[in-house]
Symmetry: C2
Subunit: 252 residues, 2 copies
Amino acid sequence: MDVWTTAEVARLAGVSARTLRHYDAIGLLEPASHGHGGLRRYGRPELLRLQQILLLKRLGLRLDVIAEILEGDLEPVDALKRHAAELDTERSRLDRLAATVAATIRQLEGGQPMAPETWFGGLDPATEAQYRDEARRRWGQAVVERAWSTLQDLTPEERRAIPEAFNDINTRLNALREAGAPADGPAAQAVTADHYRLIAVHWGDGPNAEAYRGLGALYTDDPRFKDTYDQVADGFAAYMRAAMDAYADANL
Amino acid sequence: MDVWTTAEVARLAGVSARTLRHYDAIGLLEPASHGHGGLRRYGRPELLRLQQILLLKRLGLRLDVIAEILEGDLEPVDALKRHAAELDTERSRLDRLAATVAATIRQLEGGQPMAPETWFGGLDPATEAQYRDEARRRWGQAVVERAWSTLQDLTPEERRAIPEAFNDINTRLNALREAGAPADGPAAQAVTADHYRLIAVHWGDGPNAEAYRGLGALYTDDPRFKDTYDQVADGFAAYMRAAMDAYADANL
DNA sequence: CTTGCGGTTGACGCAGCGTCAGCCAATACC
DNA sequence: GGTATTGGCTGACGCTGCGTCAACCGCAAG
């Protein structure tokens, strides 16, 4: 009774037969012998090795790492410490993700305020015309016409998605501001890059440094914009402008 | 300028061209037209749809879920709430995993005490003989001989792994005890199942109900065992025995 | 003889692309 | 006019850890 078949080992160890065949295939746990039509026959050393494998697997180690440990090529403590660090990284990633998702849910449920970038969408004709005139003076005829025709071509569904996209960016950026991240730091600049790309999509091309800085200036100097942005949080408009200036300096 | 190629869209949106081709392949984002040798040509609606895709992707949603949302088959808020719940589950799983890994590291670094199940390994000959005699009286000749020959055949390396395996189980079970989990509850019984299987491997077969209960009795009644087990934590021996009794009742 | 159990070897599937490989077309340089 | 470069295209493999068929074989019971 010192030898077991695949199914017996599976039952004893609480794994599937397929798993054992897989471990054989990748060389992690080879049976003591292949006899009589290829039948796998496991001995006691294999059972014990399997126990060690399962112990390490329960800790979340990958099979190739487990193999290295069992071959003596890797110190268990070292591998576990590295693994613990990875777990920690992954956990904080999940934490941030969960926070972002929760914020997005609140935002969707709360009904988002109309962002000023949606100038031409859903406004009454007079106000709309006023914005368009001003935009033309600031950025020129071509840009405004492109943006205008863009918005005209949207389905109502797509149009609804625009404020969400801007609010998403505002939420993210404000979270960084509250966390004390500098506006020209890597985290805030990454979000700003998303903002730039979103603007680029609406304008049909990326704004140059001057135009982008001009847009930022609008956020702090024009009360129609400033009020909306400081509604996100007090001081947010200034933070946003600083981030945009830094972005223009570094990338445009 | 109302139409863009793959590379242009990639640059504007900050994704790889390969990604865009993938999204086309799975039908998530199809170009406005395929013209002139299969060249993909994206229009403004596609750019906007891509923005929505990337927004949702940043939240960790899977591509098929994103597709459902964009097709209008799924409410964004519902999907996000479900996703938030999944994130929470995953996060607590990682928490437990990290705790287990940390405990294992402490255990490996602290040098584990010899578990009494390693009767015949590394003891002086006289003590070893004494254990063997007693084990024979308790569980019979056959079982002891099998277990004995098992241990004889092990390499020193494999022998060192045995206490680790037992200590792993003790650590896990004691964590449950300290958390207030009942010895006959599902969590503790899952660990006990591992313990049973480990014993089964060493004995060459699973002990029956009587033998397993007898082993449990040993833990609380025999001072040599009890002392070692209560060294894990005060009262642990009794908890372990209760878990083993419950396991025997339910499964053997 | 059939049925059924338990064993075997492939091979696909999953998630989301990265990364060649091999081929075409237009442009730029000599 | 030849050619090197750029960019786009379509496959197809790779990664992780098996679950899940599919197709086939051998042995024992009914």
